[in-house]
């Protein structure tokens, strides 16, 4: 059974540092035999969560747009790599907009209690966060992690790893970073191998 790897790019501009790093991860995953897909959030049409709490009644979102099919696609994947650059010490509004729309999954887990993930399910579904930041502070990614944790947990993914590279302003781009591109490629290969082994069990 093929390992399905879905990349979600949350950058508003195409082929920048973060998407390039995501591409390297996906190339690695593909080279290890994974079936790789990539979604560009800026090409989709979805609105921000309205905070209406309608999903707290029946676990369904009343806003019908491109966000819901993407959650379905994500949950059908074995590995999801979610990528966003750091803007103003957090993930982009684009990615935050998508993550917030996952509220219906949270409602299914904790309000209607119609969604539950077993430890085996979580182990077989890996979530990876990929990011770059201009700043050289090591804590520049800290504000992003909690929202990714929320996304991965509500969609049934183990928060498996972060692939992050700071100090882009100084490196003048991810391709000048000494290790990041290769690390991302190797991590793509490794996660496919790990998931393949789990599928055979």
């Amino acid at each position: 059974m093929t390992v399905v790897v879905l990349g979600i790019s949350g950058s508003p501009h195409r082929h920048g540092n973060t998407e390039t790093l995501l591409d390297s991860f996906l190339d690695g995953a593909g080279s290890a035999g994974g079936s790789v897909e990539k979604v560009i959030l800026k090409d989709l049409g979805y609105s921000a969560c309205r905070g209406c709490n309608a999903c707290h009644k029946d676990g369904n979102c009343i806003v019908k747009d491109d966000a819901l099919p993407l959650f379905d696609r994500m949950m059908a994947a074995d590995c999801v790599a979610v990528a966003s650059p750091i803007y103003s010490m957090g993930i982009t509004a684009q990615l935050k907009g998508f993550i917030d729309r996952g509220q219906f999954l949270w409602a299914r887990r904790f309000v209607t209690k119609t969604l539950e993930f077993s430890p085996e399910h979580l182990a077989r579904h890996k979530g990876i966060f990929i990011s770059t930041a201009g700043q050289n502070w090591s804590h520049v990614f800290d504000g992003a992690y909690p929202s990714l944790t929320a996304l991965f947990h509500d969609a049934g993914f183990e928060y498996y790893d972060n692939i992050v590279a700071n100090n882009m302003d100084e490196y003048k781009g991810i391709k000048n970073h000494p290790t990041a591109m290769n690390d991302a490629f190797l991590k793509g290969q490794q996660v496919v191998a790990v998931l393949e082994a789990l599928k055979k069990q």
Binding site: S11, C49, N53, Y87, G90, A93, K96, G143, A144, P146
Partner: protein, 204 residues
């Protein structure tokens, strides 16, 4: 002397808990006849997301023409800037994050082009406050939002020490904040304190 207050209500849900908190602060500020308040619900502000094009690093302005054309100038003119947001998925909601990301034009002005944001005589005489609500009862539920809030104020020349925070957790359903034991009193007090502090600085 008129004190200009610009208040961004960041929740996609109108008149919910974070906006109520903001309204309490504004009501207490409005008791002073010298205070002029403009409240902007971000649901109606027409602020697109930042495209990350970095054109502002060269142009000193944003290439997008939208609501930010108006609020850019208002942000510079205001003495007090308030921002309210609910916490969604452990972070600031997408709508106020979009506003914060659009402050990139100020960041470019300040750090790349090395130009002033406000005239020198107004530096250190602006105040900010972040009003937030969260459904979760965890005390750390606001932690991930704060760095972005600090960025927002930092690039528009409101110093860390001049940002106040009023963040109320464990309020989820609309109206839940009305039953909170201290939120309204704290919001009222914050409004008064900020106006008093600002008047002191303007008089100095």
């Amino acid at each position: 002397m008129t004190i200009k207050v610009l208040a961004f209500a960041g929740s996609p849900r109108r008149n919910g808990n974070s906006e109520t908190l903001l309204d309490w602060v504004l009501a207490s500020m409005a008791e002073d006849p010298e205070v002029a308040i403009e409240k902007v619900p971000l649901t109606e502000a027409n602020i697109n997301i930042c495209r990350g094009c970095n054109a502002c690093e060269k142009l000193n302005k944003c290439i997008q023409r939208d609501g930010m054309d108006i609020y850019h100038d208002k942000i510079i003119e205001a003495d007090i800037i308030l921002l309210s947001s609910p916490i969604f998925c452990m972070g600031i909601a997408a709508l106020p994050k979009a506003l914060i990301d659009r402050m990139q034009v100020f960041r470019s002005r300040k750090f790349v082009l090395k130009l002033p944001i406000v005239p020198p005589e107004r530096k250190g005489k602006r105040l900010g406050a972040f009003l937030a609500s969260a459904g979760q009862d965890w005390p750390h539920v606001f932690d991930a939002a704060i760095p972005s809030v600090k960025c927002f104020y930092h690039v528009i020349d409101i110093r860390d020490a001049d940002i106040s925070y009023l963040m109320i957790n464990h309020v989820d359903e609309k109206g839940a904040i009305d039953k909170h034991p201290t939120a309204k009193a704290d919001a009222t007090k914050l409004g008064k304190t900020m106006i008093a502090e600002l008047k002191k600085r303007l008089a100095a």
